[in-house]
């Protein structure tokens, strides 16, 4: 696995939690929304191992509901623990992103 995708893996959890926090989604919708915001290197199927991991950590839960297009789908929502985790990740990211951005940009201009 490349360094890049390892970095992505860690951040992906936060992104998935953020998408689910807006409204409950099923796997296919989730991958579409991630691609829509412009996470390019995420192949669609990546969401399923991530969703399993987040369920294992009790951050999200799935329940079967009829979807707009008809058949039953498993819709994912955040658990209270998931809401907390998203807050922590958001805070950490905000603390990190500004210094990392300026640092990496400086490196670029040299």
């Amino acid at each position: 696995m490349s360094i890049r995708s390892q970095l992505l893996k860690g951040i992906l959890d936060g992104c998935v939690l953020a998408v689910i926090s807006k409204e409950p989604v099923y796997g296919y919708e989730l991958s579409k929304k991630l691609q829509l915001v412009g996470l390019p290197d995420v192949s669609e199927g990546t969401v399923y191992p991530v969703l399993l991991r987040l369920q294992k950590k009790d951050l999200v839960y799935g329940d079967m509901r009829p979807s707009e297009s008809g058949p039953n789908r498993k819709y994912y929502s955040l658990t209270p623990k998931g809401i907390q985790a998203l807050e922590i990740i958001t805070n950490e990211w905000q603390q990190l992103s500004v210094p990392v951005n300026s640092l990496l940009k400086k490196g670029d201009s040299k």
Binding site: G27, E44, K74
Partner: protein
């Protein structure tokens, strides 16, 4: 959704996939299903989500490789790593049901064979406890090792295209021959000793039938 419904729906929906996508997807299904330590319910649920996703993506002109990447084995292993294990209680139930089924068929076949042979020759219906137990344990062991061996062969051959099929077939066949020889020679060479009782054809059929009924009831309750 119940396990049986999930599996049935999976079989139906899989027909909607193109040949290549079906092949890719099915190899992942087999890889997850032959991992007997996984929670079946959870595995089937995520497989169904992936299938629904695959069908939707296919309608947009995408292939399985576009959706799940070009390394299905690592993808499947990532899923397995995150899936919960089957609960011990369910494992015990499964093994119990399997034992009842095997023993049931064994006793019914024995009863039928005895009936067949006694019509033209005399056959002893005496059963010696200890030798019988040894042989049954041997058969049980061979079944367990056989299932593991064959599942391992299947899992290894799933994702590589090169034709190790012939070698695998020889391995599986060899296992069959050796285990058959073992059971036959155990039957022939273990002497009759210890306590014994008469176990006629009718009793064998009755006991076997009862065991099959129990295994059928267990199966029905699991649904």
């Amino acid at each position: 959704m119940k396990l049986n419904e999930l599996i049935q729906q999976n079989n139906e929906k899989r027909k909607l996939l193109t040949k290549e996508n079906e092949k890719y997807y099915t190899s992942m299904v087999v890889y997850l299903r032959t991992d007997l330590t996984l929670s079946e319910q959870h595995a089937e649920e995520v497989l169904m989500e992936m299938l629904d996703h695959m069908i939707a993506a296919q309608n947009e002109g995408k292939t399985a490789i576009d959706v799940f990447g070009d390394d299905p084995k690592s993808y499947a292993e990532e899923l397995i790593e995150q899936l919960p294990q089957e609960e011990k209680r369910d494992m015990v139930k499964f093994i119990g049901q399997l034992t009842f089924t095997l023993m049931g068929w064994f006793l019914v076949s024995r009863g039928l064979l005895l009936l067949l042979f006694t019509s033209f020759t005399t056959v002893s219906t005496t059963v010696y406890m200890i030798p019988t137990l040894i042989i049954l344990t041997l058969i049980g062991l061979i079944v367990v090792i056989g299932v593991k061996l064959i599942f391992d062969l299947i899992r290894r051959s799933l994702f590589n295209e090169n034709e190790s099929d012939k070698k695998d077939m020889i391995k599986a066949g060899l296992f069959g021959v050796v285990s058959f020889a073992l059971i036959i020679s155990a039957n022939m060479f273990i002497p009759d000793f210890g306590s014994s009782f008469d176990f006629p054809a009718s009793a064998s059929l009755g006991a076997g039938g009862l065991m099959l009924l129990v295994s059928w009831l267990m199966k029905r309750n699991n649904k």
